[in-house]
């Protein structure tokens, strides 16, 4: 079985290009960037908020400051080095996940419910707001969990697009461009989350099963190519649970 994490990470990896500077978060975002770097994008630099530029973790790091982020990095500066490059507009792409995403690609990792009296108090922005505000374009990875997909997030931690479908004043870059789940690929070209592709064998209904609003379809909804043997072999170096069928 190829698990959900593998499907998400491999599909996201394909959205990253060789030669890019890529600001990544912990978890599936790191996995996606590592798959890209070790398949079609050997010239891509992984950047972590702790200061690593050109990181190449041997094991998937639990923290952006983990040993595997430091050891093997091409450059280990400080937070100001990497956030400075980000703020100066020199980071091409970011990969993030969050607790919630909405139809405008806004991400929430702060609270579920009211801000001062929340149902669930979560971790907050970290670098997510900064990356989403400043990076060239954003790739989002999300498990298929209807509670995570909402028409409007409870709190906009990391700004995507406004209610008018455009980037809010004060942000730079294209904002959210791709959203990958274990079931589908969504884009934001029209200013809202749009079904653009299906994971192998997945139907268009299943792709948005349980979502609380009607997600528009692109003119051509493509079927994504299944993970290749090379991609799975690379993935297995950081994600042990995967078996090939």
């Amino acid at each position: 079985m190829i698990d959900d994490t593998a499907l998400m990470a491999i599909a996201a990896a394909r959205r990253l290009r060789d030669g890019e500077a890529c600001f990544v978060g912990i978890g599936v975002p790191s996995l996606a960037a590592l798959i890209a770097r070790h398949t079609h994008a050997p010239g891509m630099s992984l950047i972590y908020e702790s200061g690593a530029y050109g990181a190449d973790p041997a094991v998937l790091p639990m923290s952006t400051g983990s040993p595997s982020v430091a050891t093997g990095a091409a450059c280990l500066g400080d937070c100001t080095l990497v956030f400075g490059e980000l703020q100066a507009g020199r980071i091409d792409v970011g990969v993030l996940s969050a607790a919630q995403v909405d139809r405008r690609g806004n991400l929430n990792s702060t609270v579920i419910g009211n801000y001062r009296t929340p149902k669930v108090r979560m971790v907050g922005s970290g670098g997510a707001h900064d990356i989403a505000s400043l990076v060239g374009r954003l790739v989002i990875v999300m498990p298929h969990d209807p509670r995570r997909f909402t028409e409007r997030v409870d709190f906009v931690t990391a700004p995507g697009l406004g209610e008018d479908g455009r980037r809010p004043v004060g942000t730079r870059g294209a904002g959210p461009v791709d959203l990958l789940t274990p079931r589908a690929w969504f884009t934001f070209e029209t200013g809202e989350m749009t079904l653009a592709g299906l994971q192998p064998g997945m139907g268009a209904v299943a792709a948005v099963e349980g979502f609380s609003w009607k997600v528009p379809h692109a003119e051509d909804v493509v079927e994504l190519a299944p993970p290749t043997g090379e991609e799975l072999a690379v993935l297995r170096r950081w994600h042990g649970k995967v078996e090939t069928t």
Partner: protein, 292 residues
């Protein structure tokens, strides 16, 4: 030849922690790496109260200080247990309204500390201009660039009363060397009025002066240094020992309840001296993995 020691800053862990007074605003060093757990735990044992804790990415040390009742306010960019889950003590304190907080982002926290380190009242930033984070910062202002007319966030300086930092080594005078992930530790320390440090080892001044670009804090700024081997456990120190990931995982489980958290503090902090603490961790494996 031993170098001349002008004056010694070497103190006990207890003395270093006593540099932190009730009500102080405290910068906690360590961006995932070299988190000052031993100094933080000593604050818990000393019963410090009403602290304001400042950190961009605050991990389980902040959670423990909150659970122990040391903290009145948190100023942060992120708070949780990396890759594992929430800061449950913070979550509970928010729910029962026993804590105040001010929430930034990691880059704006770095800018705040950088402004204080540079001695300016604010730094312009290209963040906190969209989304809901700035909405919850009613005192945050914007600034119009006098050259380009652009609108930027005027990210205000944050000057902590005291910084607690753990690092690889220092000399007796208090020149502190750190390598590996520094994150925002150097800027946060230099932003503070006072700096107290724990280190894995004290080395001769000659060793420091042979590689002075490893020095992140010059002795002149350091109030006191304590030698505390394993003082960053369960985080890690590059070149000394690796991160005790399982410890973070276990804390993720026990900290789900207030009772579990207090039991953890009883076991690992309260009434536990360093010798006892070290006897409870698998130092051999953590050293081996670090040098593998």
């Amino acid at each position: 030849m031993r170098s001349i020691v002008a004056s010694t800053k070497l103190k006990s862990l207890e003395h270093c922690a006593a540099e932190v007074a009730d009500g102080d605003t405290v910068f906690v060093g360590g961006f995932g790496h070299a988190v000052p757990f031993a100094l933080g735990h000593q604050l818990i044992r000393a019963g410090r109260r009403d602290l304001t804790i400042c950190r961009s990415g605050a991990d389980i040390l902040a959670d423990q200080l909150i659970a122990a009742g040391c903290v009145a306010r948190v100023v942060f960019g992120w708070i949780g247990n990396p890759d594992i889950g929430l800061s449950h003590a913070f979550r509970r304190a928010v729910a029962d309204e026993s804590i105040d907080w001010e929430e930034w982002t990691n880059w704006s926290m770095v800018l705040r500390l950088q402004a204080a380190a540079l001695g300016v009242p604010f730094l312009p930033g290209r963040v906190l201009l969209a989304g809901d984070t700035p909405v919850q910062l009613p005192d945050l202002k914007t600034v119009t660039c006098p050259y380009t007319g652009e609108t930027l966030a005027a990210v205000p300086a944050l000057q902590p009363d005291v910084a607690i930092v753990h690092a690889q080594r220092a000399d007796e005078e208090g020149n502190v060397q750190m390598w590996g992930v520094v994150g925002d530790t150097a800027v946060g320390a230099l932003a503070a009025r006072r700096i107290v440090v724990s280190v894995e080892e004290i080395v001769d001044g000659e060793v420091i002066r042979a590689s002075p670009n490893l020095t992140i804090i010059p002795a002149h700024r350091v109030a006191a240094v304590a030698v505390v081997p394993w003082g960053a456990h369960p985080s890690y120190v590059q070149g000394y020992y690796t991160r005790d990931d399982d410890h973070f995982r276990r804390y993720g489980d026990v900290s789900r309840t207030a009772e579990g958290t207090l039991a953890h503090l009883d076991r690992w902090v309260r009434g536990v001296d360093r010798e006892r603490y070290l006897s409870m961790i698998d130092t051999g494996t953590l050293v081996d993995e670090a040098t593998r």
